[in-house]
């Protein structure tokens, strides 16, 4: 796995720095718009220069986080994408709160990352019930170079990082 740029390696319990003004942004309301989520993410990931199979990983990860938003938040989600420091970033914001049920083994965001910003082995221990949505989010962690989740008063931000190199 590629090293993660230092600017994005802070612990995820802290607020995330705001996306750049030039980021592409779109809001989605219902699960029926997942097809539009995928079209939007595909277009941005392709224009960032990612090759085909890696575009599909970005789409799979974003689709999963957005699905989770539609199921657990009330106001849909907003997706914001940009490139920074050789990394494609896809952020999904919703008005829901992360809880144990969503993340399987009770792994809240403060424990998500090691000090160097990489995923720790603990993040890969499967949850007891493989049918849980938490398993889907763990697979997102597997296919994404870095995942940062931050819950705040207004909801949850999930930031997916994909190295371009």
């Amino acid at each position: 796995m590629n090293p993660i740029p230092g600017t994005t390696a802070a612990r995820s319990g802290r607020p995330l720095p705001p996306p750049p003004a030039a980021a592409r942004r779109r809001a989605f309301e219902t699960v029926g718009e997942l097809v539009d989520v995928r079209a939007f993410v595909t277009a941005v990931a392709r224009s960032a220069g990612l090759p085909g199979l890696r575009v599909e990983r970005v789409v799979l990860a974003a689709n999963e986080v957005a699905t989770n938003s539609f199921e657990h938040a009330t106001g849909g989600c907003e997706i914001t994408m940009w490139v920074e420091s050789g990394t494609l970033v896809c952020q999904i914001d919703d008005d829901g709160r992360l809880d144990d049920g969503q993340l399987g083994g009770g792994r809240l965001d403060d424990g998500r990352l090691g000090g160097d910003g990489r995923l720790g082995e603990a993040a890969r221990v499967p949850p007891p019930g493989l049918e849980s949505r938490g398993h889907g989010l763990m697979l997102v962690d597997e296919i994404t170079d870095l995942v940062r989740r931050h819950s705040h008063a207004g909801g949850t931000s999930t930031r997916l990082h994909f190295t371009l190199a």
């Binding site: 219902t30 699960v31 029926g32 997942l34 097809v35 995928r38 199979l53 599909e56 990983r57 789409v59 799979l60 689709n63 999963e64 699905t67 539609f70 199921e71 493989l130 049918e131 949505r133 398993h135 889907g136 697979l139 997102v140 597997e142 296919i143």
Partner: protein, 295 residues
């Protein structure tokens, strides 16, 4: 609402949740649907909850569709949803499913190339016993429609359902024509599910918005696989045209193969899905990438 032209994209075997919020376009879509079916020599049924049957037939005639002769021969049948789904006062999902099997047998027996059904689903919001099983019924119906003989257009008036209710009902259909579908670009059903003697073919995309439909068909396939005689060729789930599967769908596919080892196999997965299957079930993933017909 969905554009009336969306119905032109349907093929036998499709089962679509078609949403509308104005009766002019609803009528226009229904007329296109029945005109297309009559022209192809298919039997056409319309279970209306919107129009009096005679008024609908007169409207179709006014739109330029010759309905009198097909109505006389039985090629075209228009009846009320009350008289079909709610015959006997309650909605009995199993009886309705048996009704489709019988209607298919009759249509086949009469030599029609397909059975085209449009059904207004507004009756489901009236307090009839049994309607709480609507989503279950819609999901089960896929097992019948996947055989590829029936084209089913389920018409849902968006004004009668909450968006959460519609999401739940939509998920039991392989495809939904939502508000705006077909207005700016050509619409096609998101997923096509076809059952044949060899197994199942999936074409399109499967995600949370339609996965209940797929789950129902896969569950039936697992059950069928259990009845294969020893040594028979396994049933195949052909994934070659499945362009997207979310993680839950990939788990569903892997779980189906695992539930009937050697009797149900996945084939033809595209690279992204093959990669995902490999993460979920490494032992079977290699077989899933094999194309269906090795040269």
């Amino acid at each position: 609402m969905a554009h009336p032209t969306t119905v032109d994209s349907l093929l036998p075997g499709d089962h679509v949740c078609w949403t509308f919020d104005d009766h002019e376009r609803h009528l226009s879509a229904l007329v296109r649907f029945l005109r297309g079916g009559l022209a192809r020599g298919e039997q056409v049924l319309y279970l209306t909850d919107t129009f009096l049957p005679d008024a609908f037939l007169a409207a179709a005639q006014a739109y330029g569709v010759e309905v009198r002769e097909p109505e006389r021969t039985g090629q075209l049948q228009v009846t009320t949803a009350e008289r079909s789904y709610l015959a006997g006062g309650a909605f009995q999902a199993e009886r309705a499913l048996d009704g489709w099997r019988a209607a298919i047998a009759r249509a086949r027996g009469q030599g029609y190339s397909a059975l085209r059904v449009a059904a207004d689903m507004g009756w489901t919001v009236r307090a009839a016993p049994g309607v709480e099983r609507l989503a279950w019924y819609e999901a089960q119906a896929n097992r019948i429609f996947a055989d590829g003989y029936v084209m089913a257009l389920c018409c849902y008036d968006r004004r009668l359902f909450t968006s959460a209710e519609l999401d739940r009902i939509s998920a039991a259909h392989p495809a939904t024509a939502r508000a705006g579908a077909g207005a700016h670009e050509e619409w096609a059903p998101m997923l096509r599910v076809r059952r044949d003697p060899e197994g199942l073919r999936l074409a399109g995309a499967a995600d949370r918005s339609n996965s209940e439909a797929l789950a129902s068909v896969l569950q039936a396939l697992v059950s069928d696989a259990g009845f294969l005689p020893d040594g028979a060729a396994p049933l195949v789930v052909d994934l070659a045209e499945l362009t997207f599967a979310d993680i839950a769908v990939a788990r569903l596919l892997a779980g189906s193969a695992a539930a009937a080892p050697g009797r149900l196999v996945l084939r033809g997965a595209r690279p992204a899905l093959a990669e995902l299957l490999a993460m979920i079930d490494p032992a079977r993933a290699r077989a899933a990438c094999v194309t269906r017909s090795p040269a």
